[in-house]
Symmetry: C2
Subunit: 139 residues, 2 copies
């Protein structure tokens, strides 16, 4: 996956050293990372990278659907490279590793049912699963 640079450019944004560093960190990550973690690792690729820029870059990547935001208990967020088409994540409670998946027809029919039951017109949802990943189950 290298066409993120085109996505940026086509959307009118520049491809900068900082953004390259953040993308590289996300590409190499095994688990979703907090902005603080992205900063720490990103400085390995770009020594003067700043925390503010990390926040701004992560926001931008989420906006362009290149990255996804994970909600964690404790209020702080983590970010993950987005797999196209898979908008939700299962997060391992032990090691933190995450896999994305598609909501699929189950969500579609859930939404239909709730629309019928409540008369709300539903236009978005927040869904995230938590569990134990295969590796962590073995020990």
């Amino acid at each position: 996956m290298v066409n993120w640079k085109r996505r940026l450019t086509q959307a009118g944004y520049r491809v900068t050293t900082s953004r390259r560093a953040v993308m590289r960190v996300l590409e190499e990550a095994e688990t979703p990372l907090t902005p603080e973690q992205v900063l720490e690792r990103g400085r390995g690729h770009h020594g003067t990278l700043g925390l503010v820029t990390v926040y701004r870059t992560l926001d931008l990547l989420v906006e362009l659907r290149l990255a996804r935001l994970i909600h964690r208990r404790g209020g702080c967020h983590a970010y993950l490279l987005a797999s196209p088409g898979h908008h939700h994540a299962v997060v391992c409670q032990r090691c933190g590793r995450a896999i994305e998946f598609a909501g699929g027809e189950e969500i579609d029919s859930l939404v239909e049912r709730i629309e019928a039951q409540t008369d709300y017109q539903i236009d978005g949802h927040l869904l995230q699963l938590s569990g134990i990943c295969p590796d962590c189950q073995c020990k």
Copy 2:
């Protein structure tokens, strides 16, 4: 619903003026409220109510499943009196009103599918819908 006092007592907690005030605020609320809003209204019932106590009480109520936490864009949380058995909420984007609903079989089969697809052993989920409530659709 008045047996929240028994729930507290049975769990080893005390029924205090502050807790009564917070519960009363939640019972009278039309929409999920932020801690700040709970404080403001709660002072009408208990003049010296403090913000710290509001936070602590809301945490406690969530722990005892008497209240539910709503995630909002922008990072701050809101709280809602829990309807028994209905663990998820649809939140209106315009007026903020919320209704709880049960995940039901759609979630069960989604979880089964994802367990099969990913080999994760899933033991929890975060699900929240957003939309427009019937009242707000009309104008």
